[in-house]
């Protein structure tokens, strides 16, 4: 870990302005991912702006009948919120499927969205990685590389990493929006489907945030209703990232939404796949994973996603 300076911000606008002022600054909240990355020198900020004092820790009702979740609301508090449990069940289920109780107590809503990939080659600074060190190559695409956990769709020749969040998968199914404040003090809203960037030739660019821009909240639209489920598939029963996860919202008429985790550089959803829900899991996945480019080791994720969704649909 490199030496860094540290300050506490007291307001979101102030934090964003400071972040734009100080070259190499990063925000820190729960620190559950950033500190690990700093210890390994995958992230090397010279200055940390602690945003925990910025008052963004409330969940409030919106005029549109939805919820505004402050960026600092912990994963534990969000999962346990009565309104979330009642109206956005897929979100609670996704949250409690993630990490461990201890981590969820520390991890925040904004930080969860900004988790970095868990690709083992991203984590080993001796390895080429276009995301960590642009232009150095992708060890995960090497002959004989270990790619079982990695992405099958939305990936590129530069990067096949996945986004590790469970929470974001549920939020994608719920049509969430990210609310931010820019260094100039302006607020903007970014729909989650425009928030994450596919890797292309620039896997180091992971989202639509501008330098210094701070996530202040996630906004959920009015409850979509229906049956909501989240099924996370993994090798052990807890404390593992998803091989595949499926967030499902299903209305009584058979329509609904499907988002996948563990398969792509971002929570993976396509409208044209949602439209196939009345026709079953095979029809959904043929649209949702059309164009997939798995490795030999992770090709199973295609069948796994379909089978998982099929089991969820069979449950009703």
């Amino acid at each position: 870990m490199r030496a860094f300076s540290y300050e506490r911000a007291t307001a979101p606008e102030q934090a964003a302005a400071r972040a734009a002022e100080v070259e190499g600054a990063r925000f820190i909240a729960g620190g559950t991912n950033l500190l690990d990355l700093m210890k390994l020198e995958i992230e090397t900020p010279v200055h940390l702006i602690d945003v925990r004092g910025t008052g963004l820790d409330e969940i409030t009702a919106t005029d549109e009948g939805g919820l505004r979740i402050g960026a600092l609301v912990s994963n534990t508090a969000l999962a346990a919120d009565e309104r979330v449990r009642r109206d956005y069940g897929v979100l609670t289920r996704a949250l409690v499927a993630g990490a461990s109780g201890q981590l969820r107590n520390k991890a925040t809503t904004g930080g969860n969205l900004l988790q970095r990939t868990r690709c083992p080659y991203f984590y080993d600074t001796a390895m080429p990685c276009n995301k960590r060190n642009p232009g150095s190559g992708c060890a995960a695409l090497g002959e004989g590389a270990f790619s079982r956990q990695l992405g099958i769709i939305g990936t590129s020749d530069a990067c096949i990493a996945t986004h590790p969040s469970d929470m974001a998968v549920a939020m994608r199914a719920l049509d969430a929006e990210v609310e931010t404040v820019t260094p100039s003090g302006a607020s903007r809203r970014i729909p989650l489907d425009e928030f994450y960037r596919l890797p292309g030739d620039t896997p180091e660019v992971e989202n639509a945030l501008m330098p210094g821009e701070l996530i202040t909240a996630v906004r959920l639209p009015a409850p979509v209703g229906g049956h909501q489920a989240y099924h996370k598939v993994r090798d052990r029963a807890s404390y593992a990232f998803a091989l595949v996860s499926v967030a499902l919202v299903r209305r009584p008429d058979g329509s609904g939404r499907v988002a996948l985790g563990g398969v792509a550089p971002q929570p993976w959803r396509r409208d044209r796949a949602d439209a196939e829900l009345p026709n079953g899991a095979g029809a959904v996945m043929s649209r949702l994973l059309d164009g997939a480019r798995p490795t030999e080791e992770n090709a199973f994720k295609i069948r796994l996603a379909e089978r998982t969704l099929a089991a969820m649909l069979a449950e009703g």
Binding site: G142, A145, F146, R236, T308, A311
Partner: protein
């Protein structure tokens, strides 16, 4: 004390302390965080500095140049020592990887430098500034290719009868391939040491090591100094599982750092170094052939396996149990070592048997099915009371059949699912499986010293407690022998100032070290008798009694200290006996019908391991082994990057051991067996028996649940989902 024949009945057959369920005497220290583990021994010596390792980023070749200038100028740095500044260090017994010195690179994350600084953060930050240039050689780390090259070559290690004729004549045969992956010990506490060698004279090492005397000898050889100038302390160890049998880079780098900067230096290996710098269990490729007649008697067993190793190393001999476990008149066993430049393969909990039984016990399940037999009955039919590879050698004690029968009854085996894929509860396919367990019962010479100070007895031995309960069973042994209560005994372990013991490994520690303590107590009894001029005094209830004599033990020496010291030496007679520990595992699993995720629902182990010295700590050992077996069956795999030649998932997020949620109800039954040929306490080890066979029982249960036979570990869902029913 020579143990040169099986023991008669003795005081342990009338025990009041040993064999009883006493909670760990060191438990309070552990749960209050006050047991001093190596890295936290801040008060052991003044002025400790922090060392941080730098590892090779290639698997094989030569390090040409190391630029440490930036690191040397970084804040707080007191010294950087690179491998190019040091002649190749010596290598002691059992290991082959060179830990430091010279330019040759044998594996990824081999240590190439150590940075010493005033704080941990300074050392770590400066270590990241060290840059190295390499000449890289290509690596071949393809074990499967090695197997194809070597299969059928070389002399068998066991060859009995006419195997080929037996297979030709047998009405029922099996011939299958099995694979187990490389595994890491994943002990909670990483390798860590503080070393003071600041004056270049005497060396003091506070470390985390299972084998104090081996560690001392290895340090002496490595640094070319006399063993008597080295003191090693390792009183508490946060897990070892064989990974801490050896001197590793933590102590070596700390010593080099200490010598260079003239101050004590502490080094803990970061987790990725634990995986790629230290040792691991090798992957195996195994071919098993079984032949049987129609009534279920095995007529031939052939087991051929390969594992990997650095040149000159030992790998993982998965055939270890095959010469001994089941009866059959014809047998051929062979093991191939495939030399490759992965980190050094070496011992991990039940080396050999753990991997071998993962395969053999699936094969037995498959064969039982072919024969239309209950797998329990099939194993009973092939029990043997003599070494089947040399029938002139009987087992000292073998109660495998009783393990199987007791287990089947306790588990409710009769009510098991009998149709693979035939039992379903909601989305879960339910299956039952079982496996046999076998592990040797080695004993090693072991010494101890006991000091009677007033009414207290102090036991000193360099035996270690790696979380196993050594402190407690040693206290129980001493209390039993001297007629004291447990509270009157203090146990001091893990220090080279104490008599040399067996150490902890190979499940020889408990049986050997308690026997050594018993021998020392007998020596103390003699000293007491001599001082009192008494013939054969009795030691009971804190008192020593003889004709016309009855006084408290604490009053014998009248304020002085009486000492007894001895070593138990195990005699050659054991070579005429086959000694082992036996068990049976029964498991119920659920396999998710859509995803193929396998989850354990309940587990039972029945163990035949001689006298159980403490049912609490022994149970703890066995359930720990079972947990490790769950990981081995379902998730643990060191993933090899075949091009770069290293284990890519080198942290505990990528290498998945079982977590609490994976472990449901566990039950352990100990048979009340005694082995008079093992030790005066008639005890054998149990710490490795617990892992033996577990994974195969799970594999067999997964097959029983799904009808899908998986012969490659770990049994992850992609090996099954294509063959599961449509959703």
């Amino acid at each position: 004390m020579d143990f040169h024949q099986p023991t008669d009945d003795n005081l342990f057959d009338r025990a009041t302390v040993i064999g009883k369920p006493h909670a760990r005497i060191d438990g309070i220290l552990k749960v209050t965080g006050s047991a001093p583990y190596a890295y936290e021994r801040h008060d052991a010596i003044e002025g400790q500095l922090y060392g941080y390792p730098v590892g090779s980023t290639i698997a094989k070749g030569r390090v040409v140049a190391i630029d440490a200038d930036a690191a040397r100028q970084a804040p707080g740095v007191r010294g950087v020592i690179t491998t190019l500044q040091i002649d190749p260090l010596g290598i002691w017994n059992y290991n082959v990887a060179r830990l430091f010195g010279g330019d040759a690179i044998e594996h990824y994350h081999q240590a190439i430098a150590v940075v010493v600084a005033e704080t941990f953060e300074q050392a770590r930050a400066a270590a990241a500034l060290v840059e190295a240039r390499y000449e890289e050689d290509p690596v071949d780390v393809d074990l499967e290719a090695g197997w194809r090259r070597l299969q059928g070559s070389g002399e068998p290690s066991t060859l009995v009868g006419d195997v080929d004729a037996a297979f030709a004549a047998a009405p029922v045969t099996l011939d299958e391939m099995y694979h187990t992956p490389s595994q890491t010990h994943a002990m909670m506490e990483p390798h860590a040491s503080i070393v003071d060698w600041s004056d270049g004279g005497r060396m003091t090492v506070w470390t985390s090591n299972q084998m104090i005397e081996w560690n001392r000898q290895a340090l002496a050889t490595t640094f070319g100094i006399a063993p008597d100038r080295i003191r090693v302390e390792s009183p508490y160890i946060g897990g070892g599982f064989g990974g801490k049998l050896w001197l590793r880079a933590d102590a070596v780098l700390a010593a080099i750092g200490s010598r260079a900067v003239g101050a004590p230096v502490k080094v803990a290996l970061p987790r990725p170094f634990v995986i790629n710098n230290t040792t691991h269990r090798s992957a195996t490729v195994q071919r098993i052939r079984l032949a049987a007649d129609t009534d279920g008697r095995l007529t031939a067993i052939e087991h051929e396996a390969a594992s990997h190793t650095l040149p000159g190393g030992r790998g993982e001999n998965a055939t270890a149990q095959t010469p001994f476990f089941y009866a059959a008149p014809n047998r051929r066993v062979r093991h191939h070592l495939v030399e490759m430049h992965l980190p050094e393969a070496s011992d991990m909990r039940a080396p050999g048997e753990a991997s071998g039984l993962m395969a053999l016990e699936i094969a037995m399940d498959e064969m039982a099915e072919k024969l239309g037999m209950d797998p329990v009955a099939f194993r009973i039919a092939n029990d043997t009371q003599v070494n089947p590879s040399d029938p002139s050698i009987p087992f000292s004690e073998r109660h495998f059949v009783e393990c199987l029968e007791r287990g089947a009854e306790k588990f409710g085996w009769a009510d098991r699912n009998r149709t693979p894929g035939g039992r379903r509860e909601g989305d879960w396919l339910i299956g039952h499986g079982m496996a046999g367990a076998f592990r040797g019962a080695l004993t090693l010479n072991s010494g101890a010293r006991v000091r009677l100070v007033g009414g207290r007895l102090i036991v000193e031995t360099d035996m270690t407690d790696i979380g196993t309960g050594s402190y407690t069973i040693i206290a129980q042994t001493a209390a039993e022998t001297m007629g004291l209560s447990l509270g009157e005994v203090e146990v001091r372990l893990g220090n080279s100032a104490y008599p040399v013991s067996s150490g902890s490994g190979g499940q020889f520690g408990a049986a050997s070290s308690t026997a050594g303590v018993y021998a020392a107590c007998l020596a103390l009894q003699e000293a007491v008798a001599e001082r009192l001029g008494a013939e054969s005094p009795r030691f009971e209830n804190g008192r020593v009694t003889a004709d016309g004599l009855d006084l408290a033990l604490g009053e014998v020496a009248d304020g002085a200290e009486l000492v007894g010291e001895d070593t138990i030496r195990f005699g050659d007679f054991k070579q005429g006996l086959q000694m082992g520990t036996f068990g049976a595992h029964f498991v119920e699993v659920g396999v998710h019908v859509a995803t193929g995720e396998t989850r354990i629902r309940r587990m039972l182990a029945v163990c035949d391991a001689g006298r159980i010295l403490n049912p609490i700590t022994a149970r703890s050992q066995v359930i720990g082994g079972m947990v490790m077996g769950v990981g081995g069956a379902l998730s643990e795999e060191l993933a090899v990057d075949l091009e770069r030649g290293f284990f890519a998932n080198h942290d505990l997020a990528g290498y998945e051991v079982a977590v609490h949620a994976d472990i449901p109800h566990q039950e352990v039954l100990f048979l009340d067996t005694l082995d008079a040929a093992s030790t005066p306490l008639k005890a054998k080890g149990v710490g490795e028996l617990g892992i033996c066979g577990v994974a195969a029982a799970i594999a067999n249960a997964a097959y029983n649940a799904t009808g899908v036979r998986v012969r490659d570990y770990p049994i992850t869902l992609e090996r099954m989902i294509d063959r599961l029913p449509e959703v």
